[in-house]
């Protein structure tokens, strides 16, 4: 059994987490290959009237349908 040389600790008084190299890490849930996965924070930059809402709505419709965009 491997001995972890760092363990995850969540203290009751100070919220802190240490990296545990022996722990299984769940795979991130990919939404769109190469673009977006779970817990991603995305800032979508563009000028006004440059179709941002249009393309974001298209991406949302595709995600909600499970189809590629």
């Amino acid at each position: 059994m491997p001995v972890p040389y760092a363990e995850a600790v969540l203290s009751e008084t100070i919220p802190i987490a240490f990296f545990d190299p022996s722990a299984d890490v769940p795979e991130e849930q990919m939404l769109f290959d190469g673009l977006l996965e779970s817990s991603d924070l995305v800032v979508w930059i563009g000028r006004e009237k440059h179709r941002k809402t249009n393309v974001m709505l298209q991406l949302s419709i595709c995600a909600a349908q499970a189809v590629s965009s």
Binding site: E27, Q29, M30, L31, F32, D33, G34, L35, L36, E37, S38, S39, D40, L41, V42, V43, W44, I45, G46, R47, E48, K49, H50, R51, K52, T53, N54, V55, M56, L57, Q58, L59, S60, I61, C62, A63, A64, Q65, A66, V67, S68, S69
Partner: protein, 277 residues
Amino acid sequence: MTFRYRGDRPARVVYFDYESKTRSLKHRYEAICNAMGLTVQELQCLVRNLKIIEVRKIRQIAAHFPRFPQFDGGKDAAFWKQLIQENPADLYVIDPMRCFHGGKEDDKEIEKLLEQVRRYFGWAAVIISHHMRKLTGKPGETRLTLSSPGVMREWSDGARGSVAIKAHADVIVCQERAMEGDTEVVYFGAFMKDGPDIEPIPLTETADGSFLFKPSSRVPPFLRGSFDLLKDVAFHDRGAAADVLQQHGATRSTAFRHVSRLCELGLVQILERRRVR
């Protein structure tokens, strides 16, 4: 576009639309669904999974819809916690940032905002749209084009709070519209903390008024030779396509770069097997 959906089920999406009029939103929504050719069952699936919150309409009927809180505690924070709890999603879309929060859009305020967004929205993916400063029209202004790779970081400096955005966002999508002759072209690219850049892809509407954007089929001159070698063959992985280019004299790195770019542009399709989780 050219992004393969990898979820094992349809995603639950909550879209906060702060600006659209209902009529305009409906027009766009229906046009995209029509252009995609969705069936009745698919439309029902969409209605179940995509919730669009019309904040403009909520505010027009004089209901209170608080801005996203800068600090914990208080009624606004409680409202947002409850709103997120009652509308769980895999993906939240906030359109646009300036209507969503009540702070300034300098680096310090945007940094606080993005940290707060991470804490409130947990493991869901969050997309926030953000306006850029207007074009000045001066010569030498950075634009997204097919022939100018590697400019997205510089281009994104035109957004307010860009230093904080680059420090805190996992993905920065860059989108710019241009008229090329009579054709409207939307350049879509992205750079990220933890993945390769997606150099700008030119998108055009599939038909006038369809509101559905797909990669245009123009082949950039520097990819023409590779495209001609690959265009009529179906490949099961990128390595096989790169092998063909290497057999015709390309170096390994050039071969993979060209295959990757042709795939991004939707000019070459790779029949990759779906990844098993």
